[in-house]
Symmetry: C2
Subunit: 146 residues, 2 copies
DNA sequence: TATTGTTATACTCTATAACTATA
DNA sequence: TATAGTTATAGAGTATAACAATA
């Protein structure tokens, strides 16, 4: 049996507030202060899914092509990505993450996880409460990527 | 007995990924397209906690005072907040949300909750799974505001 | 002197419009 | 003609530095 509309609405409200506040708090933890969220999101995509064209990156990040060109310019100047002309279709430019870019992403993830682990630790959660958080995390990911 | 370091780290990683992705997905639902996240966050704070000075808002939003001055200028031009000089300390300026500002916040919250409720509904979660999400939400809020 | 807020200035991220090169 | 990317330009949000008014 599926859930009632009332349960759905109550859960949605609780979860929306909690996810927003937590994400916002964690976002302040970065590997490099000069690295923006937008740049990190592009690097994280490239690290997970490999080389992508400007257009593909723009679609994924939901920004326009000129915005992505601009962002890739910044990342390239910092040495975190490289552009490679596409041999098959010479209109295209493939963007690859560099070792330095990969390192920055990993450092940032590590910092955020350490920050969150420290926050969890201070509250003396029980194993059962942590298990609830992990179960909920899995459910939340199903919501975003069904 | 409090939880093990390993549980803390695993939970932190799961929760960090889930919260970021969900918040990102929900952020795209706004009441007004011209309203930025930064502006909405200020309005939501004023709605929940009442009048605040520029400095207090800057600290809460973790931006500098000039940035907050700039943002309040934009919100005031749109009619969503008003500045009132503080009678007791004339260096201060109190910022209040207007009815129009309150309406915008409520509309946005409603939209986001409807979007999330629809997403939850499509997955046919059980009442037990929804309860897990609500319990986790309460724990997440304790993490952010201990 | 310290605090509150503003102004001046600069950089990033974002957009739209117009352009070049290629398919 | 259509597509991939860039350049030009403009607006919002952010920062630092310097300032005025007040405590």
């Amino acid at each position: 049996m599926s859930a009632s509309d009332e349960s759905l609405q109550l859960t949605a409200t609780d979860l929306r507030m909690a996810a927003f506040r937590l994400a916002r708090r964690l976002r302040s933890a970065r590997a490099v202060d000069a690295m923006s969220d937008a740049q990190l999101a592009v690097l994280a995509t490239l690290r997970m899914h490999g080389r992508r064209t400007i257009t593909a990156l723009a679609e994924r990040e939901r920004v326009t092509a000129p915005s992505m060109t601009n962002m890739i310019n910044g990342l390239e100047e910092q040495g975190f990505v490289v552009r490679t002309p596409d041999a098959e279709d010479r209109r295209r430019v493939q963007v690859d993450i560099t070792d330095a870019g990969t390192e920055i992403v990993m450092q940032t993830i590590r910092r955020r996880d350490e920050l969150l682990a420290a926050m969890l630790s201070e509250l003396d959660f029980t194993e059962k409460e942590l298990a609830t958080l992990r179960e909920a995390s899995a459910l939340m990911r199903k919501v975003v990527d069904p």
